[in-house]
């Protein structure tokens, strides 16, 4: 085993166009940890084959322009990757109510285990970030939503385009994404260039690039610019910055390490004990569940309530037992209704409602919903 002093292994970058493995700058680990170099045929206690490094192997091929375009969709704060387009708050609200409200709630208030998108005026909510319940457990905590917390709006555009709606992602056009971003800016009462994103607002690429989020400077270390990486290294070289303690082994406390006021804090009540399956370390055999019996116990109503009701009993999708709402779908034939349900649709219906039941079981759930009185 060996541990090299960090300072002994500082190489310099040679003035070449590219960095090769042997020329990498060796410094203390950027995250405040130990750096274990490969020296000869070993790193820490692991043996390596030194002949396996420094080879030119290029086993793939160069991606085509179209392939790069298809996959390189990320959006950076400076606008790299942000497409042209535009969208109004009005259109955004319409889309939000069709595709987002079932999870993110009215005006982005959250619910159903999905995050809130707004807690009101972002500039005011931003002030709550200094709330910390460490001295007063009854105090209000900080509110971390898009408007109050996120440092860059580029994150929002990128995330919506790539990863929303959650159950059917990558289905929004650029203009639809702009519209949804506009709506979310609106419910957070964000101003762009001194102008509030009100209900009449139409967001464009140019306007988007002028967004300054209230919490833009709320993060440490500063990762931007040419010193970004070094800022990170400097930050993590001081344990106090991130709540860590360094001590020499011989100086660690072994006796009388506590304040006299130290006390035992217990879980309040049952604490969180809603565990699935319930905790057990028993080694007896599980109760045999007869497969046939399990099948006959399949309860379409229960599946409906856990997987479907969120949308189908809201305004979003035709409700259970609502003959009128289903009329235009049933016209296409029950097989089409089954098929759309099983495969999902572009209008937000996730395949089988996101459940993992069999096709036959799913059809029973559909039958339950279409069982009109």
């Amino acid at each position: 085993m060996f541990k090299l002093d960090h300072k002994l292994i500082i190489f310099s970058i040679l003035a070449s166009a590219t960095i090769s493995f042997a020329q990498i700058v060796k410094k203390p680990d950027i995250a405040g940890g130990v750096y274990y170099p490969i020296v000869g045929d070993q790193t820490h206690i692991y043996k390596v084959n030194p002949n396996a490094y420094g080879l030119k192997l290029y086993k793939g091929r160069v991606p085509t322009k179209n392939e790069l375009k298809a996959w390189d969709k990320d959006v950076m704060p400076d606008g790299t990757g942000l497409p042209e387009g535009k969208g109004s708050v009005e259109k955004g609200e319409e889309l939000y109510e069709a595709k987002c409200i079932m999870c993110h709630g009215d005006f982005g208030s959250g619910g159903g285990g999905y995050p809130a998108l707004s807690a009101g005026n972002a500039y005011e909510v931003h002030e709550t970030l200094k709330n910390n319940r460490w001295k007063d457990p009854e105090a209000d905590g900080p509110i971390r939503v898009f408007g109050s917390y996120w440092p860059q709006a580029s994150t929002l555009f990128w995330y919506i385009k790539d990863a929303m709606p959650h159950q059917k992602t990558k289905t929004l056009t650029n203009d639809e994404t702009y519209a949804l971003v506009a709506y979310i800016l609106n419910i957070n009462e964000i101003e762009i260039d001194g102008e509030e994103v009100d209900e009449e607002y139409v967001l464009t690429r140019d306007k988007f690039l002028k967004i300054q989020m209230p919490n833009k400077d709320g993060f440490v270390p500063n990762i931007d610019g040419k010193d970004g990486v070094e800022n990170v290294r400097k930050f993590f070289s001081n344990p106090k910055n991130f709540g860590a303690i360094k001590v020499k082994e011989s100086e660690r406390c072994m006796t009388n390490c506590q304040k006299a006021s130290a006390k035992v804090v217990r879980i309040s009540g049952e604490g969180i004990s809603d565990f699935h399956p319930p905790i057990s370390v028993e080694r007896s055999l599980p109760k045999e569940v007869n497969k046939e019996e399990k099948k006959s116990n399949f309860n379409p109503q229960k599946v409906f309530e856990t997987n479907c009701a969120m949308c189908h009993n809201g305004e979003v999708a035709p409700g259970a037992k609502n003959k009128g709402a289903w009329a235009k779908f049933i016209k296409k034939g029950i097989e089409k209704v089954y098929e759309n349900g099983i495969k999902g649709t572009n209008n937000g219906m996730p395949p089988k409602g996101g459940s993992s039941i069999s096709d036959e079981e799913f059809k029973k759930v559909v039958d339950f919903m279409l069982d009109f009185d």
Binding site: Y58, V62, D74, G113, N132, V220, I267, G271, I272, I279
Partner: protein
């Protein structure tokens, strides 16, 4: 008694069918059945006489077992059905698609987590990728970008390493008070495995990384396209693209067929179902590195790009799940635990019996590897009725020591969610039950 009668009948039946009771062994086999039934009401622990489990042939010892043709992919014993990942509604986000199922640490043995028990955290559900359609693209500030199929990727020289992966929210629900009376939920947002793949620096040799490249974006191909920004230094140090997990392909829950592995760093950074690496001179601001995985401090500023999981430890045995209620006075028992650090290698573990007032040194055992679970042990003579507050405290070779709860909260506050690594305490009650408590001033 009815049962006994049935057995008697059955035995006489067997006798008639099998009249030749020739050997002494067979004699015991038959008569043994009777006393086995008679003894069922008596627990083997209190049995004064002979133990039936020894005296009589068990069922499995007399009949054929399964043929080798069964279970061609082996499964755990049917008796081990309670050794599973578990989930809670508290963390049910996204209809359990942006959620976590955690590892039963209380049943863990050694330093390797079996693949089926490895904790499972997803942001858009577990994707199932067709390996034939798998592609990895590496581009940006490189002279020659590349697209690789899975087979091409696997032809690079391999590296195998044992590392833990920990969700930085491990213990993150307990900043203000203990909440889980369970080791599985208090510390099970992590697992440890042997990973096989290729160093990214090996791939970069012939792509020609440009000197202005400072950051790498890693992006998943799952529905959430989970993405994170990684500083180039880690990429050129020990970052790997891995496809092997404990000797087989990655499980879908761990990113089959390929995930990024940044040894010691946040599990979230180890992007699963990896599809794309891009190099740039500026960082990206992906959703999971600003809206989440940032640590809000009392001054209202939040730590971003908080990479490494800090030094940490826990007592594994006993635990709330596996108490000492069956121990006898004076019995010698092993207190066992895990220690780990994403910043280096474990050097010391100290154990306190009084909640952290005084410590004694525990012993490390087995392999002691960087950024890896490390087992530790302390032999204790149990005194019936004793009340203990078991607290473990680890150190690593970077020089870090686990803070007390007061120390950590004093520096970071209680709203950080992530990267909580203060010492943890189990209370052993007078009757041997174990409760999760915290010691605070």
């Amino acid at each position: 008694m009815k049962k006994l009668v049935d057995v008697l009948k059955k035995n006489s039946l067997q006798k008639t069918q099998e009249p030749k009771l020739t050997s002494r062994r067979e004699f015991f086999k038959k008569t043994g059945t009777l006393s086995a039934i008679a003894a069922t009401a008596i627990s083997p622990l209190t049995l004064k006489g002979d133990d039936d489990a020894i005296i009589h042939h068990p069922e499995w010892g007399q009949v054929w077992g399964d043929p080798v043709t069964k279970n061609l992919y082996g499964m755990p014993s049917k008796y081990e059905h309670n050794n599973t990942r578990r989930y809670t509604k508290l963390l049910a986000s996204g209809n359990y698609r942006a959620s976590i199922a955690v590892t039963p640490i209380h049943e863990s043995e050694g330093i390797i987590t079996p693949n089926g028990l490895f904790f499972n955290r997803t942001h858009g559900g577990v994707a199932h990728i067709d390996p034939k359609k798998y592609r990895l693209m590496i581009h940006g500030l490189v002279k020659k970008p590349i697209v690789l199929t899975l087979e091409q990727l696997k032809r690079y020289p391999k590296v195998t390493r044992i590392h833990f992966i920990e969700c930085p929210a491990n213990g993150g629900q307990e900043w203000r008070r203990p909440q889980y009376n369970s080791l599985q939920f208090a510390k099970g947002f992590m697992s440890c495995a042997q990973w096989t793949g290729v160093y990214i620096k090996t791939l970069l040799e012939d792509l020609g990384l440009k000197p202005e490249a400072k950051w790498m974006l890693a992006e998943g191909s799952d529905s959430s396209e989970m993405a994170r920004t990684v500083p180039i230094e880690k990429v050129l140090d020990d970052a790997m693209l891995v496809w092997g997990q404990n000797g087989e392909a990655l499980r879908p829950e761990q990113g089959y067929p390929v995930r990024l592995l940044l040894p010691g760093w946040e599990g979230n950074l180890c992007v699963k179902w990896l599809k794309r690496l891009e190099f740039a001179s500026e960082p990206w601001y992906a959703k999971e590195e600003t809206s989440k995985y940032t640590v809000l401090k009392p001054d209202g500023k939040a730590i971003q790009h908080f990479y490494a999981n800090e030094v940490n430890s826990t007592v594994v045995s006993p635990s709330p799940e596996k108490p000492w209620t069956d121990l006898k006075d004076g019995e010698i028992v092993e207190i066992e635990g895990l220690a780990w650090s994403g910043m280096g290698t474990i050097t010391r573990v100290d154990l306190s019996f009084d909640g952290g007032r005084n410590y004694v040194e525990a012993n490390l055992k087995g392999l002691v590897l960087p950024k890896c679970w490390t087992r530790w042990s302390y032999i204790h003579k149990y005194k019936k009725g004793e009340r203990l507050l078991l607290t473990s405290r680890a150190m690593d070779d970077a020089g870090y020591i686990q803070p007390t709860i007061d120390e950590e909260v004093g520096m970071i506050g209680v709203e950080g969610v992530y990267h909580r690594n203060a010492v943890e305490t189990w209370e052993v009650t007078e009757n041997g039950e174990v409760n999760h408590v915290q010691i605070r001033s």
